[in-house]
């Protein structure tokens, strides 16, 4: 009897492992299949696309040049349009720094530019084809969510989808330049609401998180607005990707606000979840104990969350910093001439995280008021 039970346990565990393995294989196959289809979608493009089948390189710079320059002789086989199958030879120049030039390699799919004449033999290489990577990443994300979260997968994907839809509708409003402040307020509310409800369902926790996030963002926005009002005007022309816009300041402020939403929601959910759990589990609880516990959690998460925003915001601009420094600017000069925007993003993010702690604590206690009172009286 004993032996039979042991083997039964083994077989159910084996079965689980097998099911797991099958799941992984099926998901992997689906991801690869989608990527394969995307890689071979040449027919969907009107621009000529080719694959580099050989690449010869020669150095054209002298020993005294700061950096090496190269000339590539590429043999490219056309993959679409009426010239399909033809092999053309294209010359490509690039330099070691590769900021504005690109070095191509064998096996890459590239877009070709026939510059008006339509003559394929006079084409030049425009850029690398990237769509299948994006599709691969999206498919991987979905597959991974399905594997890890199972039941919550649909919720997470819906939440992301809803955010994207709302965002696209809002974007058109921004692009048209109308009522930007109202739009920002509405979008912020919708993002917070959609993300929290769809990720954590309807519960005291979620409601507390939503109000905590809204409260924190409102306070941060107020503090930031006051500081900006009393400070000399920033040089908003330096904000990247804003060429040709009229209302750059509002766009920057909006980007600022959206950027800190994630961090604020993270802190809010942590504290709200903890307070709910404490009130639910403890037999007796005093306000002092509760505040103590919240402070303990604050110690732990504050440092690491602030580091998350520090590295994410500031390190993203490293290539531009180095570029400007090698053009003769010192670090202080770079900061005064346009790169301060990332530091401001970081500081506002850190402010949001730090403020989220007391705000979430207060709101969590208010939302759980009944439960807390009950525990207090039990003493």
């Amino acid at each position: 009897m004993f032996v039979n039970e042991e083997t039964k346990k083994d077989t159910t565990q084996d079965l689980k492992k097998k099911q797991n393995l099958i799941k992984i294989i099926v998901l992997a196959v689906m991801v690869l299949a989608v990527t394969f289809v995307a890689k071979n979608d040449y027919g969907m493009y009107k621009t000529p696309i080719g694959r580099v089948i050989s690449c010869e390189e020669k150095v054209t710079s002298g020993k005294k040049d700061i950096e090496k320059a190269y000339v590539q002789t590429l043999k490219i086989k056309i993959k679409n349009t009426s010239n399909k199958g033809k092999v053309i030879t294209v010359k490509n120049k690039y330099t070691q720094s590769r900021f504005q030039t690109t070095g191509y390699s064998k096996g890459q799919d590239v877009f070709l530019n026939t510059s008006g004449s339509g003559d394929i033999s006079k084409a030049s290489v425009q850029k690398v084809k990237l769509d299948y990577i994006t599709i691969f990443l999206i498919a991987l994300f979905i597959a991974f969510t399905i594997y890890v979260a199972k039941r919550q997968t649909i919720l997470i994907l819906l939440s992301v989808g809803l955010n994207i839809v709302v965002f696209t509708i809002g974007l058109n409003g921004y692009a048209a330049g109308k009522n930007l402040i109202h739009l920002t307020a509405i979008l912020t509310l919708v993002f917070i609401f959609a993300t929290v409800i769809l990720l954590f369902g309807f519960s005291r926790k979620s409601i507390g998180t939503i109000f905590s996030s809204i409260g924190t963002v409102a306070i941060v926005a107020l503090i930031y607005a006051i500081i900006v009002y009393f400070s000399p005007e920033l040089n908003y022309e330096y904000v990247p990707y804003t060429i040709g816009f009229e209302n750059i300041e509002v766009l920057y402020d909006t980007g600022l606000l959206f950027g800190i939403l994630g961090a604020v929601m993270d802190v809010a959910i942590t504290i709200n979840a903890a307070v709910c759990e404490l009130i639910r589990v403890s037999t007796t609880l005093t306000m002092k104990k509760l505040i103590n516990s919240i402070q303990e959690i604050a110690y732990d998460i504050m440092g690491t969350m602030i580091n998350v925003v520090f590295f994410t915001f500031i390190c993203g601009e490293i290539p531009v910093y180095v570029l400007k420094m090698l053009n003769g600017y010192s670090f202080i000069e770079i900061m005064k001439n346009g790169e301060e925007f990332e530091i401001i993003r970081f500081l506002v993010g850190a402010l949001g995280i730090v403020l989220a702690i007391p705000v979430s604590g207060v709101i969590a206690v208010l939302v759980n008021h009944k439960g807390f009172k009950a525990k207090k009286e039990d003493k």
């Binding site: 890459q108 990237l130 804003t242 939403l261 929601m265 440092g303 998350v308």
Partner: protein, 263 residues
């Protein structure tokens, strides 16, 4: 002015809300900024970018983990696993960024005015810089995840010293899975806020789906989130295993009385 005002308010709030730990965290940030400036000068000195990235990454971790959270089992095991993950990310980043030429100026960046005034043949490989930016950008999130996993495993171990290694690892993995969602959410929103204007440009310039999918600017924005997410994903099992093994080793040598936080 704005930066100064924000910094002062931040310092006041941090010390008010988290007392001594808050002040320590504030100075850790200052330490990180100083280290960042040094690493920028090193990059500009045209030394090997990957070596600088790895070394500075480790130093960032030293400041963030040890100066802020003290030297203890949790921070040491986090450090080991993060170093390992960084190596993996350097390899992945190198292959992907070079293969798809993702460094340098995306097509939308070239419309900006200040680029016209900057000489960009500077002798430093933009692909390497971009990889470095993605990896250093992810350190914060990876560190956060690692420390959370290690902390929970430590607490579980403290309450239950006879737990077998497998159960410890399982506990760590469960915590990691729970916080992965909010961490990736934070990263996504942070990147979205940064690249907000790119999206508006996509609409204004009437990009179609094919244009967006093939856009280098778009891929650049995505890649940072992707590399950070891969890092966060990989760090969870790694930290679980490393931490569990260290705790087991310590238990076997009967020295766990000395594991109290040296704060």
């Amino acid at each position: 002015m704005i930066i100064l005002a924000l910094s002062i308010i931040l310092f006041l709030l941090m010390s008010a809300i988290a007392d001594e730990r808050g002040i320590r965290a504030f100075f850790a940030i200052i330490g990180n900024i100083v280290l960042l400036v040094i690493s920028l000068y090193l990059f500009a000195g045209r030394y090997n970018i990957y070596v600088i990235t790895f070394v500075c990454g480790i130093l960032f971790l030293v400041i963030t983990l040890f100066a802020q959270n003290g030297v203890n089992v949790k921070t040491i095991s986090s450090m080991i696993s993060i170093a390992a993950v960084m190596l993996i990310l350097v390899v992945i980043g190198y292959i992907v960024v070079n293969r798809y030429a993702l460094g340098g100026f995306g097509e939308l960046y070239t419309f900006d005015e200040d680029i016209a005034f900057l000489k960009n043949r500077i002798g430093v490989n933009a692909n390497d810089l971009f990889t470095s930016a993605c990896i250093l950008g992810g350190i914060g999130a990876i560190c956060d995840t690692a420390l959370s996993v290690a902390t929970v495993e430590y607490e579980v171990f403290n309450n239950n010293k006879d737990l077998p290694i497998a159960k410890l690892i399982e506990a760590g993995n469960n915590v990691g899975k729970d916080i992965l969602g909010t961490t990736i959410n934070t990263l996504l929103f942070a990147q979205f806020g940064d690249s907000f204007c790119i999206w508006i440009l996509f609409i204004r310039r009437k990009y179609d789906i094919e244009g967006i999918l093939n856009s280098k600017s778009f891929m650049q924005a995505m890649l940072m989130v992707v590399i950070s997410s891969i890092g966060c994903l990989a760090i969870i099992p790694l930290t679980s295993v490393v931490m569990a093994n260290i705790l087991n080793f310590v238990k076997k040598s009967n020295k766990y009385g000395n594991l109290e936080q040296k704060n």
